[in-house]
């Protein structure tokens, strides 16, 4: 169960600002009750006194105590600021967020209104309101609200545009949920947090603005007084007794800061509440490492990974996403890595390519590439060692290419930076590479931007890019997942041919075991951060030759072109395990029909198996029990 912090925040900033706000509220409530009459009673005997023990901030020109007046003015100043901000926020929310449930035409219309409103100078708008309504406290509040509306509306509009496009709102419309309920239950809750934070911060700004209006004489009129009014009165004699202006000035700054900082603290609190709160590195302790020491017995391969662990800071300790993974890739070999989302397959490969996500702690006994062990090297040294010898193809071709640069220029960067080629030479290489992946008119296409390419062409351009440095290893993360089947096939063929032509090896990650089966020679199956089976791809076609129950279930769960239509599809019951917990036995045991007590208590090691690959299972299902095979501890 996820534990959420619902208690008030404990950061010093939050505590300080809460106390400041509490003081303001108490003063606003009690000061007028206790000193209300004293603060307005003129005393002819005490006109313009300097600060003394009796009058800490002195008295004004009617002999009234400035400190008391400042305290009493808190109520009016705060109430006005809150009223103005509240009015502005409500009007802004209606104007900005309501169109989300009214349809696209209303959205466009309201957007125009907001844009026009925003274009009016704030001060002009405020002055105009005052001229129309005549000076006074209510006028000041209305004027300020009017100037605040468009910025709140713009915020609400931007936030609610996301909700308006969301499918859950479309689903609600289909169900016949009323517009009012769509607004209160769908739009408002999904935009509430940033709006609340913004409104809180704006109270501080509103307080300043109202004080300015009063200071200019177009806000609160005597005999009423707020801080701005007092500033204005005190300012007249600022050279004689500056303290008269300083008192209300300090109050304005104090209140303004209190609201602004409280807004910041609120934002930080809400941010943390949304996601899980990860422990700090210090409390987490050292990152988990593989228990087994590195063992070297086979002849060196192109890539050797031993004891790779990748962990992320979690709420209650390290989240162990990859747990003690070891594998090898020979030169020119195509290896597929398959698993469900969360199995750690992408993180494994990105860690090998030195592209692990931010915050990840990567440890390994050994990551040797082309004879160099890069595990002990610093990130920069490791990246340099990999250099252009490793090419990476990402899943999302739209974000993997820089939208602001021409495709040809991006490809040419590799030979220019790493190969030291001239501009013209690099460009020629880029065009050649695009031509090799069957992009028509490569010369013209190289001049285009990524958004002018179709999805399949972009993915092929990425493959061309990964080939630019003539790498000996290509790492591809779900290279065809977003593509249509016919396009997918072309990309797969391209990948296969590029590898064959250049003698490059490739590791390809996918959740589709059929895709990998056609593309690769060897398949590595991952589950809950471990390799459970490592098997020759030809065995996938004969499901009784597969040893691990999970591999079998994966291969059987997809409908094929000759699946029996009368029987239900094979499925894997249950859910993958929680990776923040220590798993005592086999991670798949809870979902495995063959699991015994041993599976639940003792984790099966990944060992060489009679089918020529490796298996981590106490009960391999291919008819060759673990006891029958030779006890060779050789990793394949």
């Amino acid at each position: 169960m996820i534990r959420r912090r619902m208690a008030l925040p404990t950061q010093p900033m939050a505590v300080i600002t809460t106390v400041m706000l509490l003081i303001l509220v108490l003063v606003a409530i009690f000061a007028p009750m206790w000193w209300g009459e004293q603060a307005v009673a003129a005393d002819p005997d005490a006109i313009g006194l300097p600060p003394s023990s009796e009058h800490l901030l002195g008295t004004d020109k009617l002999g009234r105590d400035i400190l008391l007046r400042t305290l009493v003015a808190t109520r009016l100043s705060l109430v006005m600021a809150l009223a103005a901000t509240g009015l502005g926020a409500v009007a802004g929310l209606v104007l900005g967020a309501l169109p989300a449930v009214l349809g696209p035409r209303a959205q466009r219309w309201f957007a125009d209104v907001i844009a026009t409103w925003l274009a009016f100078p704030v001060l002009l708008l405020a002055m105009l309101t005052v001229i129309l309504l005549g000076p006074g406290a209510i006028t000041a509040v209305v004027a300020l609200a009017v100037t605040m509306v468009p910025s709140f509306a713009r915020l609400a509009q931007t936030l609610s545009a996301r909700v308006a496009g969301a499918e859950y709102l479309a689903a609600a419309r289909m169900l016949g949920v009323s517009r009012g309920r769509q607004f209160t239950h769908y739009v408002l809750p999904n935009i509430a947090e940033p709006v609340i934070v913004n409104v809180t911060m704006s109270v501080g700004g509103g307080l300043l603005a109202l004080s300015s209006l009063s200071f200019l004489g177009i806000g609160v009129q005597p005999p009423q007084f707020d801080w701005g009014r007092m500033l204005s009165e005190g300012f007249a004699q600022v050279y004689v007794s500056p303290i008269a202006a300083i008192g209300p000035g300090v109050a304005v700054v104090f209140a303004g800061l209190a609201f602004s900082l409280f807004g910041e603290a609120l934002a930080a609190f809400l941010r943390n509440r949304g996601g899980s709160r990860a422990l700090s590195r210090r409390r987490l302790g050292p990152a988990p490492r593989a228990a087994t020491p590195a063992q070297q017995s086979a002849p060196p391969a192109l890539l050797e990974v031993e004891g790779l662990c990748v962990s992320f800071p979690g709420e209650s300790g390290w989240q162990r996403i990859v747990r003690d993974v070891s594998f090898r890739v020979e030169a020119g070999e195509l290896v597929g890595v398959v698993g469900e989302s969360g199995s750690g397959k992408s993180v494994t490969l990105m860690s090998v390519a030195q592209l692990a996500p931010a915050g990840a702690a990567v440890t390994a006994s050994r990551i040797s590439f082309d004879g160099t062990d890069i595990a002990p090297l610093s990130d920069r040294q490791a990246s340099k060692a990999l250099g252009t010898k490793v090419g990476v193809v990402f899943q999302d071709s739209l974000t993997a290419l820089n939208p602001a640069l021409r495709v040809g220029g991006q490809l040419a960067e590799v030979p220019r930076v790493h190969g030291g080629s001239s501009r013209a030479d690099a460009h020629r290489q880029a065009v050649e590479a695009l031509g090799r992946v069957d992009i028509p008119n490569p010369e013209q296409r190289a001049q285009q931007f990524p958004h002018e390419f179709s999805g399949g062409m972009r993915q092929r351009a990425l493959i061309a890019m990964s080939q630019m440095g003539s790498p000996s290893l290509i790492i591809a993360d779900e290279p065809t997942t977003a593509l249509d089947v016919t396009v997918q096939r072309r990309v797969l063929v391209m990948l296969r041919k590029e590898c064959a032509d250049n003698g490059a090896a490739a590791i390809v990650v996918s959740h589709d075991i059929a895709v990998l089966g056609e593309l690769c020679r060897r398949i590595i199956v991952m589950y809950a951060g471990r390799i459970v089976e490592d098997v020759d791809a030809t065995l996938l076609a004969r499901s009784d030759a597969l040893a691990h129950p999970y591999t079998r279930a994966l291969a059987a769960s997809l409908p094929d072109l000759d699946t029996d239509r009368s029987a239900p599809l094979a499925t894997i019951p249950g859910e993958p395990p929680d990776l923040s917990q220590e798993l005592p036995g086999c991670a798949f045991a809870a979902r495995c029909p063959f699991a015994t007590d041993r599976c639940r208590t003792e984790a099966p090691p990944l060992r060489a198996h009679a089918h020529g690959g490796r298996v981590a299972c106490w009960h391999p299902q291919d008819g060759m029990s673990r006891e029958e095979r030779p006890r060779a501890e050789v990793t394949v």
Partner: protein, 267 residues
């Protein structure tokens, strides 16, 4: 209960010279109690057909009849509309309101159609059971559920209304391969238990072969081939269908050079 009959549907985007015809004269029938597949690649217009049937998109010409009413002309009240057609969306991560629990989401749908009396915990529990979820799932927020579980909730929300037709738009393509089978099983079981009519839109021929009774193949806004789902896959008549079938990665080709040889065979 009635058949859905789409007749000569045309949908265009934009105006004048820059306009683009996404659906170009599509005719298709979903008989009551049947699952009809609509297969095509991105840009084929299959999702536009789905969105037009669901009422999110206006048509230029043609008709979409459900019983004796043309949905393009007479949509009826919000409640009637909801009982005509419901849709299950592709991405279960964005089709559920993140601020409502599963129970609240289902109760809301039930309240609209049966009133408050019909939306008690028992009715919500029944819906959850229908999609093979535990009753305890009702207290959870979408963020606490896996993709497959969310898609079940989205299906349950549709079922709350007992619609005449469910449009399933790529409902398995955002899911893990191992979960897709379970969702397909569920749709098939529900169709048998409740006699649902489903327009099943997908790019996955293997899925449509398994789940649909009849299938139409779309390309460039037009239907190029219609027929029995298994027959179309086994003996495709149109070149385009043939290339689609040939492009499906097949596990029996695992570890072979089929990928390279097949490319040389097809133009």
């Amino acid at each position: 209960m009635a058949d859905l009959v789409i007749d000569d549907l045309v949908v265009t985007f934009g105006h004048g010279r820059r306009s683009f015809t996404a659906v170009d004269g599509v005719s298709l029938t979903v008989p009551h109690g049947r699952i009809v597949g609509l297969v095509g690649e991105s840009g084929s217009g299959k999702s536009t057909v789905a969105r037009t049937v669901a009422g999110f998109q206006k048509a230029v010409s043609g008709s979409i009849r459900l019983g004796d009413r043309d949905l393009l002309v007479h949509r009826g009240s919000a409640r009637e509309r909801a009982r005509d057609v419901q849709m299950v969306f592709q991405d279960p991560y964005s089709s559920l309101n993140p601020r409502m629990t599963v129970g609240e989401t289902l109760a809301e749908a039930l309240t609209i159609h049966l009133g408050r009396d019909g939306a008690g915990p028992a009715a919500v529990g029944e819906l959850l059971e229908l999609v093979r979820l535990k009753a305890s799932a009702g207290d959870r927020y979408p963020a606490q559920l896996s993709g497959g579980m969310r898609q079940r909730v989205a299906i349950a929300r549709c079922l709350a209304v007992r619609p005449q037709l469910i449009v399933a738009d790529e409902i398995t393509s955002a899911l893990d391969a191992s979960v897709q089978g379970a969702v397909l099983n569920l749709i098939r079981d529900l169709q048998r238990e409740l006699g649902l009519s489903v327009l099943f839109i997908t790019h996955n021929l293997a899925a449509v072969r398994y789940i649909a009774d009849t299938t139409a193949v779309m390309r460039h806004g037009q239907i190029v081939e219609t027929g029995d789902a298994a027959e179309i896959v086994a003996h495709p008549r149109h070149d385009y269908t043939r290339s689609l079938v040939a492009a499906i990665p097949r596990i029996e080709h695992a570890g072979t050079d089929h990928l390279l040889t097949a490319l040389e065979a097809t133009p």
